[in-house]
């Protein structure tokens, strides 16, 4: 309802009366509750439905590899005395390579479990 269309006190009674009429008319029928068998059918279909398989997120590996290439390039481009940074880059490379696929697998496995597959 826009500000301009907002009813003043005079029209408020009309609005209330109209609302009462349309609501009573819409709710005049007794609503039937759903039976347990009907709910069960919906639930069964929802839980047994085969949803599209979750693909392994290969983009995670690609993104991870791209980051590592950058990190490695940075480490090796540093002057010779900064060997600590080089070791850091190498360790990060190994850790990231090892952990990324594991993380992606965990994500996929969890989603499959949630989907009941």
């Amino acid at each position: 309802m826009s500000e301009s269309a907002r009813p003043d006190h005079g029209s408020e009674e009309v609005l209330e009366e109209n609302l009462a009429r349309i609501l009573k008319s819409a709710l005049a029928v007794e609503a039937r509750r759903m039976g347990e068998d009907q709910i069960g059918q919906v639930v069964w279909k929802a839980t047994t439905r085969i949803r599209p398989a979750v693909e392994f997120p290969f983009w995670v590996l690609a993104a991870s590899a791209a980051c590592l290439v950058g990190l490695l390039a940075l480490g090796w481009s540093l002057p010779g005395e900064a060997s600590l940074l080089r070791w850091f880059a190498a360790t990060a490379l190994a850790a990231n390579l090892g952990l990324s696929p594991v993380a992606a697998l965990v994500v996929v496995r969890n989603r499959r479990l949630c989907d009941g597959r």
Binding site: M1, A5, R6, P7, S11, V14, L15, E16, E17, N18, L19, A20, R21, I22, L23, K24, S25, A26, L27, V29, A31, R32, R33, M34, Q38, I39, Q41, V42, V43, K45, A46, T47, R49, R51, C114, D115, G116
Partner: protein
């Protein structure tokens, strides 16, 4: 939590195939869906069939639900098509579906609506859709006030709110219902439904 946000959370769980979420959907909207289907079909048995087919179709199409819209509105969209199919299947008499324009709804604030409009199936189904797309306390307050004829103090006791807060809820609920009827486009809702 707003109804759309609550719907969005429910839809998220439904999407994961959570059995409890689907049960909750049936319990939250089952009766309203029956009412909606009844007004579209004019028959209790057909309405039960339409409700069931709607919910089963919702299982198939939950990925298509847009999270920013009320879940009940989305279900009504499916139910409209199912009711039209049901009508064709049973070779029922199809009532004409003249559109109820937003302009027509605007008369709600200005003049007494004609009985013909109030009694129309399109009006009834649009009201059910709009009503169940509101937050629960808004819906309860409107029904208590305008259908059961309860006083504001009685509704305040029911909602566990102060008199002033209840008046405010009622006012916002009325505004939200009117906005929903006018703005969400009964034109679109009804013309999209074909005939029943």
């Amino acid at each position: 939590m707003s109804p759309v946000s609550a719907d969005s959370d429910l839809a998220e769980r439904m999407l994961r195939g959570d059995a409890e979420a689907w049960r909750e959907l049936c319990e939250r909207y089952g009766e309203a869906l029956f009412l909606y289907a009844y007004h579209r079909t004019g028959d209790a048995s057909a309405a039960e069939d339409v409700r069931q087919e709607t919910l089963l179709a919702a299982v198939e199409g939950i990925e298509g639900y847009r999270r920013k819209a009320p879940l009940f509105g989305w279900l009504c969209g499916i139910a409209r098509r199912k009711a039209a199919d049901e009508g064709r299947r049973r070779e029922r008499r199809h009532l004409s579906l003249d559109t109820i324009s937003a302009e027509m709804w605007q008369r709600i604030e200005r003049e007494a609506l004609p009985d013909e409009l109030v009694e129309r199936a399109e009006t009834r189904s649009a009201v059910v859709e709009a009503l169940w797309s509101l937050p629960k306390d808004y819906r309860e307050a409107l029904v208590a006030r305008h259908v059961s004829g309860e006083s504001v103090p009685e509704i305040a006791a029911r909602l566990g709110r102060s008199y002033k807060a209840t008046e405010s809820v009622l006012s916002r609920a009325r505004e939200a219902l009117c906005r929903s009827l006018m703005k969400e486009g009964c034109d679109e809702r009804i013309s999209a439904s074909g005939s029943r």
